[in-house]
Assembly symmetry: C2
Homo-oligomer: 191 residues x 2
């Protein structure tokens, strides 16, 4: 019916991700994106009204992928296996955490359409928590997790651990194992 597009959605999202991670929210703009896609800036406005709408769309896509991975936690056997799975997933998909922090930099949109999907976007962390509720419940039910600590503190700390800056370049395996140990058994020696 019409000429074919010069770029695919995959290519677009791949570049958006790369640019967001590289330059952050402020450094991301249509000019740069268009250049990398080898199209004119104006063409992008055929698909997205503005930057926020594009980023929001991308994030919904990206987060749904991540939540898809996360959902597999239920097939991991006992509680310890689920814990290991979760930690591995988080450290393998470290970018997700960075991308979430980009969203929080997004100012309040002028656009109405963008506002709606941004609200959806802000609910995604909560949705993630919801998916993990069964994991925490299992742990508490099996008396593997301390029952007096609120679920959200546990999940928050687990997810935040990905963002600890490794200033001294500790090898990844040592790094991850150390964090897992602290989270599960603490940094205090047994007395």
């Amino acid at each position: 019916m019409a000429r074919e597009r010069k770029f695919s959605n995959e290519e677009l999202f791949r570049l958006v991700k790369k640019m967001l991670l590289q330059h952050g929210y402020e450094g991301f703009h249509f000019g740069l994106l268009a250049e990398q896609l080898d199209i004119s800036r104006g063409a992008l406005y055929k698909y997205y009204e503005n930057k926020d709408e594009l980023i929001t769309d991308f994030m919904l896509f990206e987060m749904q992928l991540f939540i898809g991975d996360l959902a597999q936690i239920e097939n991991q056997g006992d509680f310890e296996a689920q814990f290991d799975f979760l930690m591995k997933l988080i450290f393998d998909k470290a970018e997700v955490h960075q991308l979430i922090s980009v969203v929080q930099q997004m100012g309040s949109s002028s656009n109405d359409k963008a506002k709606v999907s941004k609200e959806r976007l802000e609910k995604l962390p909560l949705e993630m928590y919801h998916y993990l509720q069964s994991f925490i419940s299992l742990g508490k039910k099996e008396r593997k997790l301390k029952e007096h600590i609120p679920d959200s503190v546990m999940l928050g700390l687990i997810f935040q651990s990905i963002a600890i800056p490794n200033h001294f370049g500790i090898p990844k395996s040592v790094w991850v194992e150390s964090i897992k140990e602290i989270i599960s058994k603490g940094m205090f020696a047994h007395s």
Copy 2:
């Protein structure tokens, strides 16, 4: 020798802090700052060549205050008291963590002077770690802390814990105590 300044350094830094926390790095600009100080934008250029230089200057000031507080950890008695002091300090001065993340958003400066002090700035987290080295050493020496976990992982996790988002509005005291418990003794129940 000349007319007196319409604003003090304290007032300036107070506003810079407020604006950085409220609007982030990108939302911070001379126009807004000048308006709040009730001076013209041009006047600010008498003191700082650009935004990065001002922010850098402010951050050095702010961090030195924080490091000053931190240094008092040595007067806190035994290891447990030092641990409690550190956690309390971090949660009382939560803004510091936010401010540090602002710095990481600063692009590479064009200005030479700014570049130099920005390098100094990026070393500050390391300097902080250095100040806390004695605390960790004490803990390990007294066999209160697990010796096989690298210092930087412990300190990183402690500092990062301030950034865990409290999506569900858990009361502060419960929140802080829960985090302290996980960090020190883990989230796993004793078997």
